[in-house]
Symmetry: C2
Subunit: 305 residues, 2 copies
């Protein structure tokens, strides 16, 4: 099944203890789409300015990502500059320039409206609602504290029409005011989305569905070079896997968590989308096998009883 | 098989956001022995002062814990007072009074010297070495930053004669100077202990043996009341399980990690050893089953290949 993603394409400047890069491809929709395209066909809805390098445009097309919904308009592309210290979980934003993204109103090409999955990356919840009204399929939403704090009512309205929400642990707490993660998931589920995925960085991730709870450690990475885009990449692996197997049973949700985790492990190993673009299904499968081997244990011996 | 534990019995004052207690039973050896005794016979080597309540002494005996090696001498019992804020991973020590523990020289009764397992709780590494010279069996050591910083040479000497070391993540980093956990385990293994267990609090735990690596999330607890003793309890469940099944193959190590995790989940749910003492094998087994259910996932579908 195919996937539509609505989000940002951006040009990022990033500094980490391992080096720095300037004007590299970034934005939620780029990480998501490159990750998901490893598993299933992806089409983008986004906007870039006239400064967006042709190379980046070609790079997405060359990977088979649908760009019919990618508008180029006069002005500057969304630009983010950030810095990480020794703690890869904490990003310090130096600059955010919305550029042409400021006036973005996502329009889904007619051919996109039958996609099996729609991923609403972290954008204004009012725009997310506009997209939901143009699309069918399974609806997955990401957001951030900026919207939770600034457009809470609009976000709650949008969540009513969403099937799956993917949040990090701080976002889940600020959305619900509930410090306990399990209780927070139940509260969020009450807002609309039946499935709640909580990203916990190096602590792994947690899946909460009406029938299941699943806890998965992060894939161990020896050297975290640049954590930018890890969350969007997780979402790409997660939704990509669901689209590939075209099922939403217990095993499919759990496997999707594994694939989200594995794809994110590539992203953080290099700047921008470099490591994610070097990945292929063979090494993805090897990491999924390794994660399984690292985390599984046998049933209890009878002697305990 | 039976277990000998050498460590502290103490009287603790603890304040947490959920309340406070005074002069409750504490100390590494008490948490360890009560946890391990759920699985296998345990005998204590420790010292208390004349102020140690008869009730606490009786309580240990009533659970079947061997107290032949428990000396009572004139003076005050080891006393710790501490406080936790909202982050249960961070303890603020208000008072440490060594009392009779200051002049403690552990002597193993003859009957203890054939135990299959010896657990050296967090005490001076020179005393730990004295114990190792009096005992056979599988040797497991815990320590803390106080000894890593203050008696590094002595600790390294003692580690040469140890089979298993159990550390928290900060201790592993300060012992090795290696920020990467996997590399730190390899360095520690080079010091002597073939098996390294890293406790990561709410992030779970990690097992490193020459043949295996295993990553396990923490058991989810709704309300952490008092984290005191969680690490010693983990060790008690871990060693207790190994003693119960009398095996040290891959499955036994992994199951031991599960039992350490489950036992620690009880300790943190109430003050002192209260919740740990309410536990029984039936509910231990239920939590182990639940942890398994929470963390296991099926092999990959062929469709990925």
């Amino acid at each position: 099944m195919s996937i539509v993603v609505v989000g940002s394409l951006g040009l990022d400047d990033v500094q980490t203890p391992h080096g720095s890069v300037k004007s590299v491809l970034g934005g939620s929709a780029s990480y998501f789409s490159v990750a998901a395209q490893h598993f299933a066909p992806v089409a983008l809805v986004a906007v870039v300015g006239s400064d967006f390098p042709t190379d980046y445009h070609e790079l997405l097309k060359a990977r088979g990502i649908g760009t019919e919904g990618l508008e180029t308009v006069p002005g500057n592309t969304f630009h983010w500059a950030g810095r990480y210290g020794d703690d890869p979980n904490q990003a310090f934003t130096l600059t955010t320039e919305l550029g042409v993204f400021q006036d973005f109103h996502p329009r889904l090409p007619e051919s996109y409206r039958k996609a099996g999955f729609v991923f609403l990356a972290n954008i204004d919840p009012e725009l997310q609602l506009e997209v939901l009204r143009q699309s069918g399929g399974l609806k997955i939403l990401d957001t951030m504290n900026f919207w939770i704090d600034g457009k809470r009512a609009e976000l709650l309205r949008t969540l009513q029409e969403v099937d799956v929400v993917i949040l990090n642990v701080q976002e889940a707490r600020s959305l619900t005011g509930e410090p306990n993660l399990y209780k927070a998931c139940e509260v969020i589920s009450g807002f609309g989305p039946k499935v709640v995925v909580i990203k916990m960085g190096e602590n792994g991730s947690f899946l909460h569905t009406p029938e299941d709870k699943f806890l998965l450690p992060a894939y161990p990475v020896e050297r975290v070079v640049d954590p930018t885009g890890a969350g969007d990449t997780f979402a790409g692996g997660f939704v990509g896997w669901l689209a590939r197997c075209a099922r939403t049973d217990r095993d499919a949700w759990r496997q999707a968590m594994v694939m989200g985790t594995v794809m994110a492990s590539f992203t953080i190993e290099d700047f921008s989308l470099r490591a994610l673009m070097r990945a292929n299904l063979k090494i993805v499968r090897e990491r999924a096998d390794r994660l399984r081997n690292l985390t599984q244990f046998p049933p209890q011996d009878e002697s305990l009883q």
